[in-house]
């Protein structure tokens, strides 16, 4: 294994994938900080409104250099920003930053990363891909003007895959089809996933604009489709069905503060810039076959004789695989 720019960028990418989707409407971003070959920190943006990856990583790197934790809350962007404004810039002399996305130049809900970074005598900022939003760009120029070396393109393809949902949900719905299955592709037989996977689904539901579910699954499974494992409000819900013959005692209808709509045409939903989380089985997969962007498989560690599977012909592209408790989490591009 080579310990080079790719090695450090891959660490940053791996950390960022842990929060894929969960940062909505922000992009998933990771950042690694290296001084004289020493990896000081690898952090990611975790949630919109919280610190960007660069801020978290610089705070952790400072703590690693000092050999002690600070009292600063790493999630609090302004607190980290203000703290980084007070420290001696010399402590970061010669440091190289690896960021999966160009540091932002604009000050919004959170401070500008490029501006705070340009305070420090960094050696280099290695950027996997440029900011795709014109008005957010300029971060690299800001760094270069401050005399910091800027390198673009290390792991660009991998970083573009990480960024793809963000690029899509700027202009239309990003459609993520979620499925829990056994290792041999069976989707029936009650809860398949472990508690960590269930919590992860509920965290995705909590940030998504809307959940879409097939009518057949609703009739068969009588689900609740809320976020009870994370305590968040349940997302609005669209049932994809030609007929409105649902038993109103199905739990999903009585979740407080949630809109439930029944539609046989998803087109208007798909055009709106948003994050749609789609759950269901073969029927739903076939109905949205040409409109699904990514598939998220929660693959549980068992083989099953349950007859329920799904029959679809589709190419996938595996983008990232992680572990969630005993389960595998497999992110793939669909079609």
């Amino acid at each position: 294994m080579r310990i080079d720019d790719r090695f450090f960028m891959e660490s940053a990418l791996r950390e960022a994938w842990r929060y894929q989707g969960l940062t909505y409407p922000n992009p998933a971003v990771g950042c690694a900080v290296v001084k004289a070959g020493r990896l000081l920190a690898v952090e990611a943006h975790q949630k919109a409104g919280e610190s960007h990856a660069e801020l978290r990583a610089m705070l952790r790197a400072y703590e690693a250099l000092e050999g002690r934790e600070t009292a600063v809350d790493p999630a609090d962007a302004w607190a980290v920003h203000d703290f980084l404004e007070t420290i001696d810039p010399e402590c970061f002399r010669g440091v190289t930053l690896y960021v999966t996305l160009e540091p932002c130049s604009h000050r919004g809900r959170t401070p500008s990363c490029a501006r705070i970074l340009s305070r420090f005598p960094l050696h280099r900022v290695v950027i996997a891909c440029a900011d795709p939003i014109a008005e957010h760009g300029g971060g690299a120029d800001l760094l270069a003007t401050a005399g910091i070396g800027v390198d673009f393109g290390c792991c660009r393809e991998e970083a573009e895959a990480l960024l793809e949902p963000f690029v899509i949900w700027q202009r239309r719905a990003f459609v993520l089809f979620k499925l829990a299955q056994t290792a041999n592709g069976r989707i029936g037989g009650g809860y398949l996933s472990g508690p960590e996977s269930l919590e992860h689904v509920h965290r995705l539901r909590a940030v998504a604009d809307e959940m879409v579910i097939g009518g057949g699954t609703v009739r068969a499974d009588r689900p609740r489709l809320d976020c009870r494992f994370t305590g968040n409000p349940a997302p609005d819900l669209t049932l994809y069905s030609r007929r409105d013959d649902f038993d109103r005692r199905i739990p999903l209808f009585s979740v407080p503060h949630r809109r439930v709509e029944i539609r046989d045409d998803l087109q208007p939903l798909l055009e709106r810039p948003s994050f749609l989380l789609v759950e269901g089985g073969e029927g739903m997969l076939r109905a949205l076959e040409d409109r699904i962007d990514w598939m998220l498989l929660y693959q549980t560690p068992k083989l099953s004789t349950h007859p329920l599977s799904y029959n679809v012909d589709q190419k996938l592209e595996y983008l990232h695989t992680g572990s969630l408790g005993a389960d595998l989490l497999i992110w793939s591009r669909f079609g």
Copy 2:
């Protein structure tokens, strides 16, 4: 993400998994070298008869410190050993080594790792798990006697999983069931895997003592079951079948220099300390259900409507997942 002992040991584990099975009859082992927080090298044992992980890693670490490659062949254990005997021990002062398995103390086909390591003023050797073979042990004592700090147990559970095949094939057959499937668990429809996966299978076949395949698969697929993608001799073959009614024109019968046996009782094979690579479908899975140690899934990036799947109820435990070209490689404990 914390940059601590676990971080470095996990790098070593990840590198070692790339050679799981391929090091037979040796164990898969990884090693990382760190100086003042700087990760200098992460290497693994790749093939029996070649350099152990520690030797490869020390050579690469030296090259990283010197900033230049040497002319030494990293695979050649004696060449690396002799080279490490000549360099100034001071270059490794303060270095910490992370090894997934206790460095060997005995001199066999390859030199003793513990002995060469004890030449250097290392700060610490962090060992995930002790050598399970009594006459190979003592490496840690040798290091400690040389004044090097030795820490046991970091990532022990993960390292024991990595080591499990080695422990099993010391006393009986290690049974690895290999299956290529789509992401929805379909196993029919011709070659499913990409070229990297096919090459990996052939590298496993080349080191295994014996391949076992179900008679039904032989009749249906008429395979060759050789190692043509790697140019190695084909492994000996056992066809598991009650009847010997095979068409002798099936290619596997005419592979030169290979023994083909037809058996309806695999017990004698299973008792012999060895590495058995089992291929087949549901019939073979059911026949060996209680005797399979690990399952290796080559999961190809597609969903398929092909009707051929496999119906078995079994618990798995995912041990490691990697990428092979476009495919996923999923190692799991079976049952």
